[in-house]
């Protein structure tokens, strides 16, 4: 559908962002405010001998200098609590905070941060995933056995968490592989990468009495609040998190980061304190970047092209600390197994400590890499059995009623339709020049049902107010809440304003994470609006002398069904209600249930094997390769997505287009480069190459709309992460067709592609 055919959608935050009137954390100034600077370790692994802040404190204009000695001595993090606010005894990555300074201005603060004396003894750097797993490898956490870990979480030395997924039995997989007609075994290696939001993060903290208000650029205000409460040992009602406009997150601003450091500085300084990151800090310091991975896949095929069995081994880089990454191994295992009908599956997957920046949920964690490996491998399988890669997928991909890789039986799903639609849109099968090809990949991603709350109220003049705990990170999901409320109440979306991103005001929501905002908070807003609708109908029934059940809310009025003339405006009803029982709705509906899989025998289950309301996708991408240089250019991409019912088509198109562009970057140009010293070599936007709008290809999108049970409002599933999943994979398959073999390293940089073309030339006896 063309944009012009879709309903008009005005984002409430759009004009502010476009005109520059919107205010971000960096724009805030409070009376008496100080500037914070953090002092980082600057070394990947070391034992701390001494941290001396006396010289820093003595500098005029310095109000406070804090270290681990100044905050409660406790470890935090979900599932595997393995880190402190400030480095204690050991530093485990270069961006670890050893001290924080608040001073009269940025120059003095930096001078003081530099004046902190840090003496240390270097420790061996754990950088390589396989080396980290080797017996006798140096430990990133010498005390790993003493950590207070939650749940069934197998661990061992540098393995922070371990999960397996199994269908059938391990022995069954071995036997099926031994009996297969064809076996393909390959290794795929993905580098780490970054979320790289436009806005480097900022935090402002101000105390009044024993309460602190923190303005912060977070995607998850309640997680940020809970992190402050946990680390500074405060009750939740004394910590208020407010998020001004957020300049993007892409997962990089999920989790709890520097809010407690700045709150502690503000308390010690008895002044408001502000931290604003440089771009370099945004690259180096947060415990959020996309994990590097090593993926070994071994797949057996029957002569008819059906998949007989798959065995896999995955190492997911955790980095120095466990942020929200405990579930990554299991999620990675699901993605390398893929949305296929495979009778025997066994994947072992480990989360591996290194002395690098911690990994964390960046837009569909583990999925672009896992899908890239799985789908590159799938094309290799098709080639090995002599089938067209799309026909191979038609044969093996799951459809409605099929059983997936952990034995989950899927309800009505649109994966096969996605495959048909995307390949048709891309013109798959057409004749192309020999430097072009169309690559195809399938993707999938779970929805994450959860608790979520919202209030909706209509004030005396009939103007609507939505008060939601949901966080807008740029996806437009929160903006779409107006549409849901308006539809329930027969009003216009622009009749509603939204109060959001304030934990002191709104009920809980998980935040802009896991593509869950519309899925969960949408249901909350609908539930709250339904309560108001009932009240409006009761009032209208009284005034119009009709039964409440016969009242219809539409076009800003309440009328009697079948008698549009017998009506009263909602504004009039609101005025009446304002004098008595006010129009206040609250929504916190019971979340949809996660499916149960009888007999599932996954070790280290982290709850991401059985998928609620899974989303499916197919991307078909046309690529041209400059063979002489290895530079690839994406000429066009066709995307088909089953994300259930689409509530707002314009916003949905925007999600797919943004996800595709991010996916192209991961495919071709974005990768973190580490030096021998365990430090990032390219923490800057010139050397860490994001895609630009000049690089964006034409993107066509189709939605396979299936109103899904046990999902979001009107059968909607999530969408924000899904478009990021199969893009790199599809590009990989296009490149493999042109080059003659896959590039089994991600990103598939120009130089790596060129090296692959050389090795093909070598193999065929030609000279390079």
């Amino acid at each position: 559908m063309a944009i012009t055919d879709t309903p008009r959608f005005v984002r409430a935050d759009g004009p502010d962002k476009v005109t520059g009137s919107g205010r971000y954390v960096a724009d805030l100034t409070l009376t008496g405010m100080l500037t914070a600077k953090l002092r980082y370790a600057g070394i990947a692994h070391a034992r701390i001998i001494k941290i001396d802040v006396s010289a820093a404190k003595a500098i005029p204009g310095v109000f406070s200098v804090l270290t681990a000695d100044d905050v409660p001595d406790l470890r935090y993090s979900p599932v595997v609590p393995d880190r402190h606010l400030f480095a204690k005894d050991t530093v485990r990555f270069e961006g670890e905070v050893i001290a924080a300074v608040a001073a009269i201005n940025a120059e003095v603060a930096q001078q003081a941060a530099d004046a902190v004396v840090f003496e240390y003894e270097e420790l061996p750097i754990v950088a390589d995933l396989e080396a980290a797993l080797a017996p006798g490898a140096p430990l990133v956490h010498e005390d790993w056995e003493s950590y207070d870990v939650t749940g069934d979480t197998p661990r061992d030395r540098n393995v922070a968490t371990f999960s397996s997924i199994t269908k059938g039995t391990k022995e069954g997989v071995d036997a099926a592989l031994a009996a297969a007609d064809i076996v393909v075994k390959q290794r795929y290696v993905a580098d780490g990468s970054h979320a790289a939001p436009i806005e480097p993060r900022g935090v402002v903290a101000q105390w009044e009495g024993n309460k602190v208000t923190i303005w912060t650029s977070t995607q998850v205000p309640f997680d940020a609040r809970n992190g402050v409460c946990e680390t500074l040992q405060m009750p939740s009602n004394r910590v208020r998190i407010i998020v001004p406009h957020l300049g993007g997150g892409f997962g990089g601003k999920c989790g709890f980061h520097f809010e407690a450091h700045i709150a502690a500085l503000a308390k010690a300084s008895k002044r408001p304190v502000k931290l604003v990151f440089s771009r370099e800090e945004e690259f180096l310091a947060p415990d959020r970047r996309r994990e590097s991975m090593i993926i070994d896949l071994e797949t057996g095929l029957n002569a008819d092209g059906t998949i007989a069995a798959r065995r896999g081994w995955v190492a997911v880089e955790n980095g120095a600390y466990t942020a929200d990454s405990a579930f990554f191994p299991q999620l990675a295992a699901m993605h390398v197994a893929g949305p296929y009908k495979i009778p025997f599956v066994h994947i072992d997957s480990s989360l591996v400590y290194t002395n690098h920046q911690p990994s964390g949920s960046v837009r569909a964690p583990t999925a672009p890499q896992g899908c890239w490996a799985c789908e590159t491998h799938t094309d290799e399988l098709a080639k090995a059995v002599g089938m067209d890669s799309v026909a191979f997928r038609k044969l093996n991909a799951i459809d409605t009623g099929d059983e997936g890789v952990v034995g989950q039986v899927y309800g009505e799903i649109g994966l096969q339709q996605c495959l048909d639609t995307a390949t048709e849109m891309a013109g798959y099968g057409q004749d192309l020049p020999d430097d072009e090809a169309i690559g195809v990949a399938l993707g999938w991603w779970p929805s994450f049902p959860g608790a979520s709350g919202a209030f909706v109220r209509l004030d005396a003049d009939g103007a609507g107010q939505i008060v939601t705990g949901a966080q807008e990170c740029g996806t437009g999901a929160v903006m779409t809440l107006r549409q849901l409320a308006a539809d329930e109440l027969g009003m216009d979306p622009e009749d509603f304003e939204i109060i959001y991103q304030d934990t002191g005001v709104a009920p809980y929501d998980t935040g802009a994470t896991g593509s869950q905002t519309l899925l969960n908070n949408g249901r909350a807003v609908v539930a709250a609006s339904e309560q108001i609708a009932e009240q409006l109908k009761d009032h209208a029934a009284n005034m119009l002398e009709a039964a409440a059940g016969d009242i219809v809310l539409a076009n800003g009025t309440a009328h009697v069904a079948g008698s549009p003339d017998k009506s009263v405006s909602i504004a009039e009803l609101a005025e009446v209600a304002a004098g008595g029982q006010m129009l206040i709705g609250k929504g916190s509906p019971v979340p949809p249930e996660y499916p149960e899989i009888p007999g599932m025998n996954c070790v280290g289950d982290q709850g991401v094997a059985a998928w609620a309301a899974p989303q499916f996708s197919c991307h078909a991408v046309r690529v041209r390769l400059d063979r002489d240089t290895g530079v690839a250019r994406v000429l066009a991409i066709a995307c088909a997505h089953d994300s259930g019912t689409i509530i707002n088509e314009i916003a949905a198109h925007g999600q797919v287009e943004g996800g595709v562009l991010m996916g192209i970057g991961q495919a071709l140009t974005e990768g973190t480069v580490y030096g021998e010293d365990g430090r990032q070599q390219n923490p800057a936007l010139l050397e860490y190459k994001l895609q630009t709008f000049a690089d964006a290809p034409p993107i066509s999108t189709a939605f396979i709309q299936i109103a899904t049970a046990e999902a979001g409002p009107r059968g909607a599933k999530g969408l924000a992460e899904a478009p990021n999943v199969p893009t790199a994979a599809a590009i990989s398959n296009a490149l493999a067709k042109i080059v003659g073999q896959p590039i089994r390293q991600l990103p598939m940089t120009a130089e790596r592609v060129w090296e692959a073309t050389l090795s093909i030339a070598d193999d065929s006896g030609e000279t390079a």
Partner: protein, 300 residues
């Protein structure tokens, strides 16, 4: 503390330089470099961006003069540059982003002396000289004499680059600049090459020059020997150009590429630059910049 003043005349600017000030025009290198901690801001900065003497592009019978203050945005659309000195326009159009091109100047780019600068190789193949002026006079310096090492020029501290001059183009001449880039905006040359070609009426090369970007400590002029002279631009002569360019290059390995990859791709860029320059010399119009018109990395 930095003192900043705005020159009202060229004389005033030259006197300030003689007194130890450093000039600033677009500030795209000076300010960014300072913020990144590469070099602190000088104690005294004199703004030269309002000096008419440094503005404008003028073509006389025998010479083109480009004022040092001319921006990349001007160079990429100026009809004289685009038609007769196309390589400069090709290069200017690839620099950074619209905002960089709007404030970044040719004089600033030249005096910054980066071996990755895009306009450098075009200036060499077009035979440009930098006009350096002081309170007591001025001199013309060839680009090869000017650039000494990364970020370092042979200009004295009191000398201001006021213009880039180059000879008018002979008939049947064309020039082009291509570069290897990983994305289409906000990019810096991985490697690049400029070429200038003059043909006789029979399509044989009478003069050809090639210079290379980002494969040595300075922009590198290539000695083509007899690879092109008296020959047509065909597969054999282009292959010879690529080979010579690769052999001339002394690239380093860094985050953007290994030396091996640079050595190979600079040859590819050189042959593409010569080919595009040859087509222009033959009267064909190839829209600015060649990189975009001819597709990925200037392939056809």
């Amino acid at each position: 503390m930095t003192t900043f003043s705005i020159a009202q005349s060229l004389d005033q600017a030259l006197q300030a330089l003689a007194d130890g000030a450093r000039p600033v025009a677009g500030g795209t290198d000076l300010v960014v470099g300072s913020r990144q901690g590469k070099a602190p801001l000088p104690d005294t900065v004199i703004a030269i961006d309002r000096l008419d003497e440094l503005a404008g592009i003028s073509l006389s019978d025998d010479q083109l003069r480009i004022g040092a203050m001319v921006t990349h945005a001007q160079l990429m659309v100026d009809p004289i540059i685009a038609e007769h000195f196309s390589a400069i326009a090709d290069a200017a159009a690839l620099v950074g982003s619209p905002s960089t091109r709007n404030v970044g100047t040719l004089g600033g780019n030249v005096m910054n002396g980066s071996p990755a600068m895009d306009t450098g190789a075009p200036l060499i193949v077009l035979g440009a000289t930098a006009e350096l002026q002081t309170t007591s006079g001025n001199r013309q310096v060839t680009m090869e004499e000017l650039w000494v090492s990364p970020g370092k020029t042979s200009a004295n501290a009191d000398e201001l680059c006021v213009a880039l001059n180059m000879p008018a183009r002979p008939a049947n001449s064309g020039s082009a600049y291509v570069r290897l880039e990983y994305r289409r905006a906000m990019e810096i040359a991985v490697v690049g090459a400029a070429a200038s070609v003059t043909l006789d009426d029979g399509g044989m090369v009478t003069d050809a020059r090639v210079a290379l970007t980002a494969v040595a400590a300075t922009i590198l002029a290539v000695d083509l020997g007899d690879a092109l002279a008296g020959k047509p631009i065909d597969e054999a002569s282009l292959a010879a150009v690529a080979k010579i360019a690769s052999e001339t290059a002394t690239p380093i390995s860094d985050l953007r590429a290994t030396d091996r990859y640079r050595r190979h791709t600079v040859g590819v860029m050189a042959r593409r630059a010569v080919e595009a320059a040859g087509r222009r010399a033959g009267g064909e119009t190839i829209a600015i910049p060649v990189n975009r018109t001819l597709g990925i990395g200037a392939s056809q």
